[in-house]
Structure formats: C-alpha cells, structure tokens
Symmetry: C2
Subunit: 220 residues, 2 copies
DNA sequence: GCAAAAGTGTTCTTTGTACACCCATGG
DNA sequence: CCATGGGTGTACAAAGAACACTTTTGC
C-alpha cells in the first residue's frame, strides 16, 4: 500500500483565516501533499511536502487523521499553523502556482481533501480552547490587540478586550518584550512574545486548560 | 510500505480498568493487531483484527493516531470500549492466549505499543469530559450506581452521587427502562439505558460538552 | 431491627461576563 | 485638537462544589 501525507496549512492575514493551496500545471488546486518513502517518518514526510510544494520550512505540525484513499493508499492528514509574513511562498519544481485562499471561499478540491481540511479547521478551533494557537500565527513580537484579532477570526466572534487581556496575562503565555510599536495613529502598543504554556480564551476553555497539562494532544 | 492496525480495547470489570492483550505461541503479549490489505478501509481492518484475535465483533472504534513502525511500516492505532460481560473472549487461530489485564499492571509490550496504549488511555480519560463513554462500557441496562462507578474508575477519584445523578439525568443521556434490579441487600436500583447524546461528568466538562455538538471527534 | 445501597435539595463559593473611562500618539 | 487604538478595575450573574438524611430491601 502507498502511504501519502497532506497538510492543511492555515494562516491569519488581514483579519481573514487563509488556507494554503497549490496546483500543478493545468491541474486542480490541492493541499500540499506528498508520499512517504519507505522507512521515512511520517511527520518528516509531511514537512517535506510543505517545503517542496511551497518552499516553506521549519513549521510545526500536528497529525490529524489517517484517511482511506482508495483504491490502494492511505493518507495521513496534518495541521500546520504559520505566520504568512515570515514564510513567503515559493512554488516548488512541479508546482505551477501556490497561494493563500480565504478558508470560506475555496476552489474545488480533490476528493477527500475537503474532509482533511474541514477536520483541520474544526481541530484548529477546538484547540483555541486550550492552547495558545494564536502565537503560531503571529510574528515573534506582537501586540495583544493583534493576538485578540487572531482569536476573533478563529472563533468568529468578538471578544471583550479587558477580559481578554486579563486572561492572557494571567495565564502567563506571553511575556513583555519591553519594546513598543507605534502603528499609525493611536497610542503605541506594547510588544509581547510567546512564553510557552497553555491558555484559553474564555470560560469553558480556561477550566479545561487547567486540567489538561498533557492529555488531548497527540503523543510523541 | 506496509500499513498495520492495532487496537487498544478497554473494559471496566470489578472496579478496575482492564486492557485486552493477546499472545501467540511462545511470543510476547500484544495489543490486537493486523495489517491492512490493499484497498481495504483502515477501520474495517482494525475491526477485523479484534475479531480475528479475540473473537469479539460488533464493537465501535475510534482512530487514535498513526505511528511510525520502522523500518518499513506505519501503524494506525485505534481505541475501542466494550462491556466484557457481553463479549466473551475466544482466541483466534494464531493466538495462544487472550485475556484482560489491569491497565496499571501490564506485562511488557512490544516497542511502540506502549505509546499506543498510553495515548488510548489519555484519550479515553479526555473523552470522559464530553462524551457518555460509560455507556459503551456497560451492559444494555445498568444502574446509575454502576455508571458512576465506571466514571470513578476512569477518573481515578470519587464523585458525589447527588451531583452525579442530577447531572446525568439532566443531560438526558440515559432513559429509565422502568425495570428495577435488586442486587443482594440494599434498596433495589432503577435500571437505565443509553439515550444517546452527550454528557459530562463535571464542571470543566459540562461546558465543553454543550458547545461540542460536533467538533473534536474524528470525521467520517 | 440493622446493615447496605438508592434516592433526593439547598447553600455557599468560584468563575464568568458585562461594562466605561482615561491615555498616548499621529495627523 | 481630535480621531484612533491602547490600557485599566468593578459589580452582577451563573455555575460548580460541598453537604446529610430518608427510603427500601435482604439478612
């Protein structure tokens, strides 16, 4: 049997949640994908697929699910989150075109890829509940306003900035860099960086976070 | 590459959480496992493995994770929950012995199976938080006391029976059968059956349950 | 009649949610 | 000087956790 990999790569740009798609010459749009060579670790193969298709390296990934790909393959789907600003796209050799699409306005994908992408999206939203996913979608230094905006895009609703700031700071997932950034008009914002650790945006979530020091994430 | 399947099968018996293991003649203890034939759906192969090894059929399973199995295979691990009372074990042709082991007192397993089993256990406990997993571990009719005992074993702590009963009934995951069972001394208990739907044992959990009508479970 | 398990409500504490104003800068 | 986004604390509402006694049966 053949073992394939594919990766649902998400980013947040311009207050939109985008998905990375590529296509070969004359072909349909696809998630970055590849196959696993004999003996190669699956996660390495998935990272290689993203590198070869889009020229993006060094991103962290999480395994999602293994789908059947009749007639003779299985496909291990992965989820990746990146800051598009730090990872410019460069199409690989067999790729005619690679670009970001708004997650709610996608071209038609190959059979089965819808499932992987949909599952990736729901897992991403679920993770919002107990992991500081936003830091994976932001530059090294970011303002709390930017971080809040990412969560608002992921959750599809507005958050109260006072509660948001209180909770993020209390959770200790970010630390002040000491720097400040003035961006156009308005008071300059403090810049933070990730400090590791778990975090949950609201209610149902914070509680879970507390008890899930390790638990729901895939092993190894 | 070869694609293998293995299944961590759990049950609760006698206030203990047990795991199903099998061994071939003279060989080590293993999780029920098999390989995926060309074109066969992975979940079917996993069900077949449990049937062939232990003679148990018709159980529901959930995919957990796909592990590397160097040098030339991957293994798709699954989680299954059954009521041991309704599924007597009968060793398959290549199996010398198959039996239940307490989850915290296991023999040495083959490399990699520890990971699958450990992940299965943590997923099982995590699911306690938002799914009525106990009904998969109980007979068709059961008392609330038995159900509570299952949760206590899974969570490793005692629950308050008044809160437990209130919450289970309010969640609507069980319905009265109208029957009653007297078991030795003590007041006879009402018998319930599963009514579908989600349920959470406590706090952190109930809230999550409410918002996860669909979300965290694998697709398809 | 007593030991053993089933069944039933209320109070208090913790957590979440809603909310309004002053501050620093650019134009 | 005003428009824009950043930054701060409190009061109310909801949910969770803790808790004791009565009922029904077998022995």
């Amino acid at each position: 049997m053949r073992v394939l990999v594919e990766v649902a790569v998400f980013t947040v740009r311009d207050r939109r949640l985008d998905v990375l798609l590529a296509r070969g010459p004359g072909a349909a749009w696809l998630l970055p994908a590849g196959s696993v060579e004999n003996g190669e670790p699956v996660d390495i193969a998935a990272a290689a697929a993203v590198r070869d298709v889009a020229g993006v390296r060094g991103i962290t990934m999480e395994q999602l699910f293994t789908f059947d790909r009749p007639p003779d393959a299985v496909c291990v789907a992965h989820l990746a989150l990146i800051d598009a600003g730090r990872h410019p796209l460069s199409p690989g050799p067999d790729v005619a075109d690679v670009r970001w699409f708004p997650h709610d306005d996608l071209p038609t994908l190959a059979d089965g890829q819808d499932a992987a992408l949909g599952y990736g999206l729901s897992r991403l939203r679920a993770k919002t509940a107990y992991a500081p996913v936003a830091v994976n979608l932001l530059p090294e230094l970011f303002t709390l306003g930017e971080m809040q905006a990412v969560y608002e895009v992921l959750l599809g609703r507005e958050l109260d900035s006072r509660n948001f700031r209180r909770d993020v700071l209390a959770a200790g997932v970010v630390e002040e860099s000491g720097e400040v950034r003035a961006e156009g008009r308005g008071r300059p914002a403090r810049l933070y960086r990730s400090a590791g650790g778990h975090f949950a945006v609201d209610a149902r979530e914070r509680r879970v976070a507390r008890q899930i020091s390790s638990g729901d994430d895939p092993p190894a």
